[in-house]
């Protein structure tokens, strides 16, 4: 039972791998970097 649960868990990775996610993620990242730049 434990082995099956772990197997199922592992199969859920990676959690997200879509183009849209990467876009949103990088946008947030860039916003944060921009804030650092402007603050400094």
């Amino acid at each position: 039972q434990l082995a099956r649960q772990i197997s199922s868990l592992v199969r859920q990775l990676p959690t997200v791998d879509t183009k849209q996610f990467k876009q949103e993620f990088l946008m947030e990242y860039n916003d944060a970097l921009l804030m650092v730049y402007l603050a400094s």
Partner: protein, 308 residues
């Protein structure tokens, strides 16, 4: 020993009420101890109010110069910054609640009120001061606590302040400057005008042995919440507001700097120093905001590495 603080000594409390040591010294109370239960309840209530100010009452006792807040309850009123003594709408509710509390074994009296300042920090506005002065006239001993639920989430720790007002006409001795906090431009005047009418008390927390074991059990699940939350998304409105406020402050400071730059020789060193300190405050605010953003984006990057 840990749980001794939870014992209610009616005789001791009646004696304190009779002596009224606070009447002799406006600065008598110096410390506040808030129970984990009261803190949780107040924080959750304030958070549930969103951008609306909510308020409630606290039950507890006093021991020497310390307020001990054992419990709290929410009041069915909103918009505490719109009128003096918004509590008045809820007197009937308060009375009934306190009476029922005693019936179920919560013997402590009401020792104060709390309310939220969503996003603009823990300090007493003009209305808060008037309300608290009224409370201190008729309901002593009484304490005011203010919680900022939005800054709590942004900072990752509870933004809480405890205050008591001075009597009308009392001139307080000069106090050392309290810890700096960002005040939005729209509230700066209200903050400044009444700053000398109250003082803040030192806040600490305590929990019972049962609280400790319950919290340690919860801690085993808490990591799930930490990993699955993104303050970056949740606090967007607040951050946007902060940036906008910062921009306005910069414009204001910029205008003043230009004047002092051109006609610098006409300004006294004190006035020039004032501009410097304004810019210092702005850069301090910007730094704080950015550090919070860095913290949030770091957690996103770690999650990305971990899960993707």
């Amino acid at each position: 020993e840990v749980d001794a603080i939870f014992k209610y000594d009616e005789v001791q409390q009646s004696a304190i009420q009779a002596q009224k040591p606070w009447t002799k010294d406006p600065h008598y109370f110096k410390h506040v101890k808030v129970s984990a239960l009261a803190l949780l309840k107040m924080a959750m209530h304030c958070r549930s109010g969103g951008n609306l100010e909510v308020m409630g009452m606290m039950q507890g006792k006093t021991v020497g110069d310390t307020f001990i807040v054992m419990d709290s309850f929410a009041l069915p009123v909103e918009g505490t910054e719109t009128r003096v003594n918004a509590q008045a709408e809820a007197y009937e509710y308060m009375v009934e609640f306190v009476q029922t509390s005693k019936q179920v074994g919560r013997l402590e009296n009401v020792v104060g009120w709390y309310h939220s300042h969503p996003g603009y920090g823990c300090w007493m506005s003009g209305i808060d001061c008037s309300t608290q002065m009224l409370n201190q006239q008729y309901q002593e001993p009484f304490l005011a606590i203010i919680i900022d639920p939005i800054r709590t989430v942004a900072a990752g720790k509870v933004e809480i302040g405890a205050f008591r007002t001075y009597p009308e006409g009392y001139k307080p001795p000069d106090e050392p400057a309290s810890e700096y906090q960002t005040i939005p431009l729209s509230k700066i005047e209200d903050f400044g005008v009444h700053a000398k009418q109250y003082y803040s008390l030192d806040v600490s927390f305590f929990k019972s042995s049962l609280d400790s074991s319950l919290l340690s059990l919860l801690w085993n699940k808490y990591w799930v919440n930490t990993l699955s939350s993104s303050p970056l998304i949740g606090n967007r409105d607040f951050v946007a507001g902060q940036i906008s406020d910062l921009a306005e402050k910069l414009e204001q400071a910029d205008g003043q700097l230009v004047h002092s730059g051109r006609a610098g020789s006409f300004f006294t060193p004190a006035e020039r120093k004032k501009d410097d300190s304004q810019l210092t405050k702005i850069s301090h605010d910007a730094t704080k905001m950015t550090v919070e953003q860095i913290k949030d984006i770091t957690s996103q990057v770690i999650k990305d590495l971990l899960f993707n």
